[in-house]
């Protein structure tokens, strides 16, 4: 199966772009990151079987790309967060909460824990739903999130850390 990249972009581009805006909170970075996702997908296009939903693997690929971006920003000590014009969000957290959460999870967690935290707190996935994307059971996801909560307790507001 060979996907046409422009067709994929027309169908899923808004989903990928808005996710990049949510995680990167910078318009130019969001546009670049969204393009990078589709170009990476294009390069790997012969590897995709027809059974998985494009929305699912695009969601994973976008999360992974944005995490790389954020790690690069931290290494370069860039402060790239900018005032985006207010718009209603489809995320479960507002922009300030997202940034605080990302700061905490980028501090010392491994990538799968970072993704689990984002899927659960930002996207509102249950442990089982997050586990499906990560190839983990729901209990393993709960454990990773609990570990993160312990380590981030001092840095994040109590209501964010409520057991869900």
């Amino acid at each position: 199966m060979s996907l046409d990249t422009a067709d994929l972009y027309r169908r899923y581009g808004d989903m990928v772009l808005s996710r990049c805006r949510t995680l990167l909170h910078n318009e130019a970075d969001a546009q670049d990151a969204a393009q990078a996702v589709f170009l990476q997908v294009h390069r790997a296009r012969d590897q995709f079987r027809g059974d998985a939903k494009p929305s699912t693997w695009l969601w994973k690929a976008t999360t992974h790309t944005c995490l790389n971006w954020l790690r690069t920003r931290r290494r370069r000590r860039e402060d790239a967060v900018e005032e985006l014009p207010w718009a209603p969000t489809d995320a479960m957290l507002d922009p300030v909460e997202v940034q605080n959460l990302l700061d905490a999870v980028l501090e010392g967690e491994d990538e799968r824990t970072q993704m689990a935290v984002i899927y659960h707190f930002v996207d509102g996935m249950t442990h089982d739903e997050a586990g499906e994307l990560l190839g983990l059971g729901g209990a393993a996801v709960r454990k990773r999130i609990a570990g993160f909560r312990e380590r981030a307790r001092a840095r994040l507001p109590a209501d964010l850390m409520e057991a869900t």
């Binding site: 046409d4 808004d14 670049d32 393009q35 489809d90 509102g124």
Partner: protein, 222 residues
Amino acid sequence: MSHLSTLALHQLRLGELASDDAAAAEAHLAACERCRRRADAQQAQRAAFEAAPVPPAILAASAPANRPWPRWIASVVAVAAAAMIGVSLAWGPHPETTRIKGDMPEIELWVRSDAGVRVVHAGEKLGPGDVVQVKYATDGAAYAILAGRDQTGEIEVYGEVPLHADLAEAPFALTLDGTPGTQEFFLVTGRDRFDADAARAAIRGEREDLDVRDVSVGKEPW
């Protein structure tokens, strides 16, 4: 009360949920104002997205029917390079390159032989009459120029090249003449259109907003 995940909202909107899951999601939306607002936000993002053009780099990665460019005509440019002596191939990011986030543009050197076009290897001899072909990928850039520089140090801008997400041949081939020396090739890319002077400045390391990749063919002592 647990809510629909952001991904589930997208999948519902796109018709990608199994019918049971879709029915459950619709039922939740009917009862949950917060998720209805999130779904409305996605509709608004969709409308704004549809009004914007597809980025050129994405169109370049697409099937030829999607591309708006005219055919390019190959032209041949005589170039000074190492002749009948060992050549070393050095390639990689130009020392003064600004790092681009994500994947990188690339440039490679190939040579035309009787068997077809193949990549030039380190230590290979190239001689007068050999035709070298530059292959390049512009990744996410919106505009790209190819240029060259021989041992005199003067930068020659060959011109704008079409965008390609995958490695593709430059629209012109270059024939080597007998003058010994070093020949470099540069791929200069940027987010906006830029001119030949800007390309030269970028090659000299003076432009942080443009990315430069280079490959060179030079002489090595026996």
